[in-house]
Amino acid sequence: MKTVNTKIPSIDGNGLMHGRPAFTDDLTEPNSLVVKLLRSPHPHARIKRIDATKALALDGVELVLTHNDFPRNSFTRAGQGYPEPSPHDKFVLDEYVRHVGDEVACVAAETVELCDKALELIDVEYELLDPVLDFEQAIDNPSILHPEDGICEMFPIGFEPKRNIAASYHMEVGDVEAELAKCEVVVEESFYTQAQAHAMMEPHAVNARLDFQGRLVLISSTQTPVHVRRILSQTLEIPLSRIRVIKPRVGGGFGGKQALHGEMFVSAVTMRTKRPSRMVYSRKEVFESTYSRHPMRFDMRLGADKDGTLRAIDCYVLSDTGAYGEHALTVFMVAGSKVLPLYNKVNSVRFHGHVTYTNHTPAGAFRGYGAIQGNFALESAIDKLVHTLGLDPIAFRQKNMMKEGETSPIFAIMGEGTEGTAMTMDSCKLEYCVNRGIELIDWKKRYPTKTSKDSIRRGVGMAIAMQGSGIPYIDMGAATLKLNDDGFYNLMVGATDIGQGSDTILAQIAAEVLECGMDDIVVYSSDSDLTPFDTGAYASSTTYVSGNAVYRAAQEMRAMIIREAAQVFQVDPDAISFDGKTFASGAKTITINELSNRLYYNEDQKQLVATGSYVGHKSPPPFMAGLVDLDVDVETGKVHIHNYVSVVDCGTTINPKLAQGQVEGAIVQGIGMTLYEDARYSKRGRLIENSLMDYLMPTRLSVDKLTTEFADSYEDSGPFGAKSVGEIGIDTPPAAIANAIYNAVGVRITSLPITAEKIRTALREKGQQS
């Protein structure tokens, strides 16, 4: 029986389409208190006084909590390994508010309506402070976001709160200035990326209750249940053993649920009132009060010789982490560490910069995690360099890019907040990806442009990308397999399925090893009381890290059942053959059903349980080439995408259809960031695009066709040769589309999103010049 690398339907799609209760708010206790937050209307203020008397006087309002009601323990909402690389710069509630939507007070009441009424009746007096709304003016601004005591970095990350700096970093290979001076051609350009919103369909939700043992039990729409438990325990001073966090079905995450959101508040309410409580974020809260992607500015300098040898890359980055430094340093570093090694033959490369605080909605984890920002800057700059040199963008990349068996010094230098891990690219089919991509898009006929009728210009463009597979020596996954009577297995994983299909592919890995059917594996994810440790669904780690853990657990279970069969036949385990169904030794046979029934009911009874753990010693990058064929209407700037070609090397695809779904979903999310999704602030610091009406995402009509293929690739260290595939798809659209627009109409847009208006404005200005 073969399950790996086959197109098995996801194990949960059917039940979810039937609408069976599975998501956080479907699993709320009856008669739960409704919890809502009073949020700041100001971008920067100090709370002088809060009076909740009138709210508390309402019949049915149970509780109002303010910053005086919480222990003053600083923490970070970021769900990361411990100690976190994010500064502890937040309090559950604070006397300062630092962005529109920041938390002021927490209300618990019997109904939603009562909660809303109570929020209106809380009287707050603010002292307004000067907001910092321009991240390029944040460093050493007279207005300081975090003047308070009691905040800290967990290890050195360049944290300088008095200068509005959340983190800083610098690395250099060789001498960049000297190398650039020697280059025949140097191009410079600055690029800007915006604060994309995750906009997962299920808003953040959490509910809490005390169980019959008096323990706090949370059901939370989270990507990181064990981090939620740890951070709750440390911050609210509840023993870890008294907290249980259950991750039910999650309606999309994309990194947006890799942090604590309402968990602190429902926990505080339930601990105080002893009553169950529930919280569901409004869509406005999702936009204004969770977090977005880090907006960044890149100052790029590339140096090359006229023959097309890339010699030096210099990259200064300024990143805007908003009010709190969640994932500040790590997203910043990934903008270099998972981008710059693409061009590994340079003599010198520098990557440095700062992450600033501003009075914007915080930034945090988001699929791509810095790599999409860095890819837009680098791959746009490469095309600019290529055009300056008068060379072909494909040939230039083929000459200078990473190839199988090669390495980059950056891997050893840059990790996520710490030093990195040296590694060689044992699997890298980037050359194949580029070559196949050219064929699929018909590059040779179409490059750079074909004029169609009237005002329409058609062009092609491309970019290459890499990502990672988990964080080496940090991201840990574990899996437990339990054999049941009748011969089927429970697979318990801490890995968190958030819609990406990890329950399915982890079951496939177990079924492949145990040679059983998918129906014989019952997956459960995840519950801090029942499932083994796993850092969670982030950093493209599930297939590679958790998948390896499942592989190990299944190998051990396989050895265990063979040993038991050998015992039955009184032979050496080596003498047993097993096909997933039947154990045989010579003429003697016993089925797995018979064996397990015997184990639990009849003879020498015992429970068989196998656990496997894995922590990566490297992070093998998936690679891809993204190519786009599009139209630009020169009179209106409107872009229409005909075809987006992705050729991806993610090692073995455990489930080709689900892998394709990861790539295509990410491509379209990347197209959204490239063309439509904006996050602008009013002069008074309010986020303008704060609803699904104003925040424009790709629609069903935005892209005519997605063409997705996978390279034949095998990563030896991965389960059945697999690498990760969750993030890689999002990286190429910004640069590929910017490059195609340049090829079509001759203007280069250097700030995202590339709206029709920006293209039209650039064309108008270009027309006026000529």
Partner: protein, 262 residues
């Protein structure tokens, strides 16, 4: 937004009497916009089941009940054929089918929203609004001044015309509001309305007159009409688009629209 009382009258007369009696009463359309408002509604009068949800035609007129949904406009054969189905297309361009099954033409018109995709199209047709008390009011009169007293919009009446029509809704995505609406009809005369400027629909009177007076409609006539429209139509900036970009859109799309219907 809270609604404290929901009233379902059994006749329009009764609804009208309630509206006169209670200053705080409001008439419901599809309640899509009302739901998003900040203000509580004391009394909401709904006109369901009063026969206002049909589209009928005579030799001269098309009459659209105020409670006809945008989806009905989109799929009705009468609307689909009149003036190249431009009203049907305008209705079909609004949000998803789930919204269009709720939103009513009465709500779209009476709200007089500056971003309306429907009003510019009605403005280039020969449209009157039929009120329960005041009777027929020409659309342009309604758009130019507020209702003098509370009344109930019963129907939208469009005089049938031979000719051609088109509408260009320019938006950033298919689910967005318009950055600009360009509606043109060419019947026994020309009519051009520009909506979402971002202010409400305005007629390009000089451009219309130029086209009406022209002996033949060629590229030059159209170019001059576009120039005249650019001069007379006031465009401005908002968060969705700048004034300069709206000028580019008007220039390109009005030329294209005029060419389609010449």
């Amino acid at each position: 937004m809270r609604i404290n009382e929901l009233i379902q009258p059994t006749s329009i007369e009764e609804a009208y009497a309630l509206l006169q009696e209670h200053e705080d009463a409001k008439i419901a359309g599809g309640t899509l916009w009302m739901r998003l408002g900040q203000h509580d509604v004391e009394r909401l009068i709904v006109l369901d089941g009063l026969g206002l949800d049909t589209i009928t035609e005579t030799n001269d007129d098309i009459s659209i009940g105020a409670m006809v949904t945008l989806r009905q406009l989109e799929t009705n054969p009468i609307i689909q054929t009149h003036l190249n189905g431009m009203l049907s297309r305008a209705a079909g361009s609004i949000m998803g089918v789930q919204v269009r099954n709720l939103a009513t033409i009465g709500g779209s018109v009476i709200g007089n929203y500056s971003f309306s995709d429907i009003i510019p199209v009605l403005a280039v047709m020969d449209t009157t609004l039929v009120f329960h008390h005041q009777g027929e009011v020409p659309l342009d009169l309604f758009l130019s001044k507020r209702l003098s007293e509370p009344d109930i919009l019963v129907a939208i009446r469009i005089r049938k015309q031979e000719g051609r029509g088109t509408v260009h809704k320019i938006s950033r995505t298919e689910l967005d509001f318009a950055l600009l609406n360009v509606a043109v009809t060419h019947t026994d005369r020309w009519r051009i309305a520009i909506g979402s400027r971002p202010a409400g629909a305005a007629m390009a009177t000089n451009a219309m007159a130029h086209l009406d007076q022209a002996d033949r409609i060629d590229d030059q006539t159209i170019a001059t009409a576009v120039e005249l429209a650019m001069e007379e139509i006031k465009l401005s900036s908002n968060a969705k688009a700048s004034q300069a970009y709206r000028r580019d859109l008007l220039s390109a799309h009005l030329r294209r629209a005029l060419n389609e219907v010449k």
